[in-house]
Symmetry: C2
Subunit: 491 residues, 2 copies
Amino acid sequence: MTAYDDLMAHQRETQALAQVMGRLGWDQETMMPRGAAPQRGEEMAALESVLHARRTDPRIADWLGAINEPKLDEAGRANLRHIRRSFDRASKVPAALAARIARVTSEAQGIWAEARANDDFKSFVPTLSEVLSLKREEGQALAMGGDVYDAMLDDYEPGTTGAELEAMFGALRPELSTLRAAVREAEAPPRLTGTFDENAQMKLTRQLARSFGYDMSHGRVDKAVHPFSSGSGLDVRITTRTNETDPFNCFYSTIHEVGHAAYEQGIDRNYLLTPLGQGVSMGVHESQSRIYENQIGRSRAFTGWLFGQMKDAFGDFGVSDAETFYRIVNRVSDGFIRTEADELQYNLHVLMRFDLERALVAHDLQVNDLEAAWNDRFEADFGYPVDKASNGVLQDVHWSVGLIGYFPTYSLGNVYAGCLHDALRRDVPELDAQLAQGDTTAATGWLNQNVQKHGGLYEPKEVIEKASGQPPSESPLLSYLKGKFSELYAI
Amino acid sequence: MTAYDDLMAHQRETQALAQVMGRLGWDQETMMPRGAAPQRGEEMAALESVLHARRTDPRIADWLGAINEPKLDEAGRANLRHIRRSFDRASKVPAALAARIARVTSEAQGIWAEARANDDFKSFVPTLSEVLSLKREEGQALAMGGDVYDAMLDDYEPGTTGAELEAMFGALRPELSTLRAAVREAEAPPRLTGTFDENAQMKLTRQLARSFGYDMSHGRVDKAVHPFSSGSGLDVRITTRTNETDPFNCFYSTIHEVGHAAYEQGIDRNYLLTPLGQGVSMGVHESQSRIYENQIGRSRAFTGWLFGQMKDAFGDFGVSDAETFYRIVNRVSDGFIRTEADELQYNLHVLMRFDLERALVAHDLQVNDLEAAWNDRFEADFGYPVDKASNGVLQDVHWSVGLIGYFPTYSLGNVYAGCLHDALRRDVPELDAQLAQGDTTAATGWLNQNVQKHGGLYEPKEVIEKASGQPPSESPLLSYLKGKFSELYAI
């Protein structure tokens, strides 16, 4: 055994244990009996402590030092890059700080949930202040004198900086606002009415998952409160939800999660249980879920097919033709909640969170003033005031669990999806003809070959640039949104 | 922190990780997508290696040496007894041998399954010989000059020896044979006919589980190929199966597994994630599953209630009255398969396995001759020849996975159930009146207070003796079976 072999054998076991942790999380949200929660907490804490010890195992440094890197192939060098980054990160953060963050964020989630239920941001201020302070301390340890927010961002989107995002988002925001204002003045499409049997929704949603290439022999679809995708490699499960009056919530949650799951399922099997065997970053992950959900799933061609499927499943549901159905699916509506926002407005929600969290990290904004800052920014961007904290600053779980630097990856994913969509349209001219038949083979095949199969082989920006043929930029996304919504709203 | 506190904190994490392993096993049999099997194998191997390292952690010896045992309370001393036994066992078996047993038995299960599918014992001989030889080697390491089979048995039934079982089973066998012969000469009750909707079976089976006190807030019921109970403490799940023409298979599998699960759920919550927080032995575990299934579940009083439930669920199913129903439930039928055997014949199946495996371990029987020995013994005990290996020597998975010394705990469990049943009848004179209403509260409450809640506090024989008021003996089981089947068959 060479040092590289030893290191990779060690990694493989660590990856396998990390998959077990993911499985426990899935079980908790789908199958676990309610009363098991306290025991499950101990089980996950015990496994987390095993994982932490493995990730900071001093032998990793020895192995890394002993490896003759130039002799490795491309995948071998990429493995080392990931292992070095992870080990370096784990070693920079003092164990006591890591343990404290784990404990505080675990409690904070409950306090946030209660504050949200009571629409009472003030009761959450001390906890959020502590989380922010601990995460800032961690960021400082990681940054070693560099930019703290960049160090936080690096956990989710290696190789991208706050300044780059600021420039990109700065170009997006005014254009999105202008487009949004024009759409709001135009005549709106109708809304969906009626009720839709939830068992029939689940049946159609499974069919949709299959039609997007989700491999049921390596996954399964269940219901959960929040849709998510979980696992890598040979066992990638998704959840969705049903609402009697809103079947699109079920279908597009499923398509979104299938985008994430197809990425994980589609990675080269040679990378199974290695550092290359997972999606390379949150942004690239989100590019897959969003292009499945929006550029493909909400296209005129695909919704035409879906209209027929829904008529088969639900009979006449009060929509006369495919064009009206397309307009209903893509309706732009006022609302407070990010996760319910349409394709046009979604990024405005994210951009304000990015600005606010950067200001918090830089001490330019105090947690005490966060609710007022949120409400001011929301009214400026959306044109109407926030009515309660659960529709405003308390709506997302992220900050409570210490996910700072995570929000921008949602919009970066949309930007990446825009770049990929341009290239996909260029390379697959027959795309709409296929989608109109409910056939996503060409689209998902192209994404697999150009993005998904690589797993962690390339850095995030690199994989997008290789796939799209040019450096990532917000322009394709903007052109796509302008084109789509100008035509839809005849503006 | 004292040495005892340190030891118990270490144990608690180990127990939590062992629960995770149980959860993976449950998932594998119920939820896991088929294609995930190879990855799951690696996940479980990685976790097993973590568990092995924790169980042989040299700090355990240091802690054990530093503890002032007389200062501990009864539970503390019982904890030490379990920890010492487990550490002692793990330390006696060389790591290389343990790893080899794990690898060989994991492969052997597949080879056994194929041999069974082909009714070809010969193709299984080399593998079974290797398993036996490795397990014998392990037994020798554990026995340190003592009896090898006793050392094997000690893994499942601490404190009981092969000689004790031989005496007990030697008293059982001729009596059971005589009773069986008389029953076979008497007029048999009718058989159940017709079909029974499988969804309605699952609905009634969940109601049965609840009626036996199974706590659904700390468990769940799913379908699986083989019924089992999994987990301890706050998360104890069971599985059952359905067969359109045999609803009793579903109902009595459920009641059996609820017996196991109620034991785990009913242990004093103070013992959660400690060595006392699980059933104390296989025999005591089986005593709970069998008394739930047979002495309670197949009693005239309870089947009277079940008859009404089945009429409600399935309408008229061709059985005219409760007495006929009782006789159908308890019908004694010819058959080859242990797991399908009735209460009267079940132990004859187990006793032959006990004699055969003891002879194998003692070199008195060669694996090459095992099929012939099985077939001879079967015909002698049952009166008709084995028709094929899958109905004979290849029917059980146990030996292939290295479970030698396990089979006798099934019959010991029945013997224990007989002892407990006598005491239960003595202490709860109103039992039948309650069971006739489908109310098991008094029965399950008595078992909880006298057996289940103690978990690992007492040694196996000790807990049965305390509960029943006398040392364990086969007499109560024999009297119960003779009384029940003489009356049923009018002999």
